[in-house]
């Protein structure tokens, strides 16, 4: 194991985040705060409680999820796409590193950023509404697992994309709709029965539901199922990355 390489990649990526602190931290926190002010405070005050939780507090876990999913994807996809685009990736490919070190460096850094962002949003939200975290351990577990999974997904996207458009098309056309329709702003139980069934095909529903359960102990699906879903997604992404490095897909040909 080349620990010096992991540290080099991780540190460089974290330094990149600090260089672009407005884009990587201020922007997501600001946009989430805006969602919160509009939906939570302005409109939310007219919405009744959901399962005994005020609407403002109810949307906090969903907003955190929305933010860390998008940020994880954009951070790690950019981290690998940009060197591919400029050509600096030659150094990574010629270095004595395996996919394990590359992932620990890049995905570790992207996931770290996401967890930091999640923490900032949670802290910011606590100034506006009363938030209780019923199961902090599980909350942290979901936060870390989802950050890691979506960072892995972003990494795959960055390797696959051969143009800037492809890089943004998946987050906008797939991830954003799934997240918005995945129960960020509402409980699935508020939908007509037919749409409840359709929603269960949306994997993001499981992620948000599980994360929300760790706060308020109410969920659309069993928390065990949520966790299983996260683990499945993580395993799928890991397998794909392993395959990418094994075959050199779009990297070494």
């Amino acid at each position: 194991m080349n620990f010096y390489a992991i540290r080099a990649i991780y540190r460089t990526e974290m330094a990149r985040m600090m260089r672009t602190v407005v884009q990587s931290i201020v922007a997501p926190v600001l946009s989430t705060s805006l969602y919160f002010v509009i939906f939570g405070a302005a409109i939310g005050s007219r919405i009744t409680e959901i399962d005994g939780v005020s609407y403002g507090a109810f949307i906090v876990p969903g907003l955190i999820m929305l933010s860390i999913m998008t940020e994880s994807i954009s951070n790690s996809s950019f981290a690998i796409y940009f060197p591919k685009f400029t050509g600096t990736i030659f150094e990574l490919l010629s270095a004595p590193v395996s996919f394990v070190e590359v992932l620990l460096g890049y995905v570790g850094a992207a996931a770290t950023k996401s967890v930091i962002i999640g923490g900032i949003i949670l802290t910011t939200a606590s100034f506006f509404v009363d938030i209780e975290v019923a199961h902090p351990g599980i909350m942290l577990l979901f936060l870390v697992l989802i950050s890691v999974s979506f960072s892995l997904f972003g990494f795959i996207l960055g390797v696959w994309a051969d143009g800037w458009e492809k890089l943004t098309i998946i987050p906008i056309l797939v991830i954003m709709p799934l997240t918005f329709l995945g129960g960020t702003f509402y409980s699935i139980s508020m939908l007509p029965p037919a749409w409840q069934t359709v929603s269960l095909f949306n994997p993001v529903v499981y992620l948000i539901s599980g994360f929300r359960w760790s706060f308020y102990e109410n969920a659309d699906v069993a928390v065990g199922l949520s966790l299983a879903m996260v683990m499945t997604f993580l395993a799928l992404c890991l397998a794909t990355v392993w395959w990418i490095f094994r075959t050199g897909y779009k990297l070494r040909n």
């Binding site: 010096y4 080099a8 990149r16 050509g87 490919l93 010629s94 270095a95």
Partner: protein, 308 residues
């Protein structure tokens, strides 16, 4: 002595069917400067990229100091530094951080002293904290060399190090390469400039259409270069070379009007004075003469042309 790099029957066929390398075999000796010459698209960069692990090979083997470049890639790659042809650099990084990153990536512990030494040797120390994007093209190239040297490699690949570089900087680069060799680093240099290979290389390999068509000591090639031709245009055609001139390396053209003498400029006597005297005595007169020297460039162009 075991070669430091041994390439055996290496082939590479790209997905589109293009055969970039056709069974290439080549040994690089420890501590030498090897000049790899070849026109664009000959397969130079593909070969380097395979040795360094950037591109996957189709078949064949590459060993570095006896280690297989695929099964033992950690060992082989940590011994190699690569300066690519283009100038890709982390635009917003500083030379210092870029070097430190490269050193870590190649598995070496932090060593500010080593990074400082490398940056100083490439006259980059006073620019160490500037953003790379602000540096000139020549400086960027130095940054890439310093990155490649940050992990103290035993082998350095320089893919066209002086393409588009001004004369002064080229001299500087050459000095850097000579210093590296003096410190025991094996250098493999690809270039378009024959002059560069003449100046630097111990051995020269020519590659064209994915095949190595010549590998030879530069000195030997230079001896070839030392040969000159003296061409005498005769006033009257002669049927054959007179016997008394049998001791000279002479050639007569078909219609008997041109006599060509091959001689070595580096020899003690060129024999020109004696030959001209003998000609005069033999009554052979000439109305013009010229001399011709074949350059490495000519040998190179000739070889490349032949292999088409």
């Amino acid at each position: 002595m075991q070669p430091i790099i041994s390439v055996n029957n290496l082939t590479k066929t790209y997905a589109g069917g293009f055969e970039a390398l056709k069974s290439v075999s080549l040994d690089i000796h420890r501590g030498e400067i090897f000049g790899l010459l070849g026109p664009n698209g000959a397969g130079k960069t593909t070969m380097i990229n395979i040795i360094c692990g950037i591109v996957t090979k189709t078949s064949g083997t590459v060993t570095v100091a006896g280690h297989d470049s695929v099964s033992d890639y950690r060992k082989t790659r940590s011994m190699i530094g690569l300066v690519p042809q283009e100038l890709p650099a982390e635009s917003f990084e500083t030379p210092y951080n870029a070097c430190r990153f490269s050193r870590g990536l190649f598995g070496k512990p932090e060593d500010p002293g080593q990074v400082e030494k490398v940056l100083k040797s490439l006259s980059l120390w006073d620019k160490k904290d500037e953003k790379i994007i602000m540096l000139s093209g020549g400086m960027k190239r130095r940054v890439l060399i310093s990155k490649a040297l940050a992990h103290e490699p035993e082998i350095l690949f320089l893919d066209e190090p002086t393409a588009g570089v001004d004369v002064e900087l080229r001299q500087d680069m050459w000095n850097v390469v000579r210093e590296l060799r003096a410190s025991g680093v094996t250098v493999i240099l690809t270039t378009h400039y024959i002059e560069e290979a003449e100046q630097l290389a111990d051995r020269i390999g020519v590659i064209n259409h994915g095949e190595v068509i010549l590998v030879d000591e530069k000195q030997k090639l230079m001896r070839e270069l030392g040969k000159k031709e003296l061409i005498l245009h005769l006033t009257e055609a002669i049927g054959r070379i007179p016997e008394r001139l049998g001791g000279y390396e002479l050639e007569l053209n078909e219609d008997g009007t041109e006599l060509t003498y091959h001689y070595d400029t580096k020899g003690e006597h060129t024999g020109i004075t004696a030959l001209l005297g003998e000609l005069s005595e033999a009554g052979i007169r000439f109305n013009d003469l010229n001399t011709k020297q074949s350059s490495l460039e000519e040998i190179f162009v000739g070889l490349v042309h032949q292999s088409r």
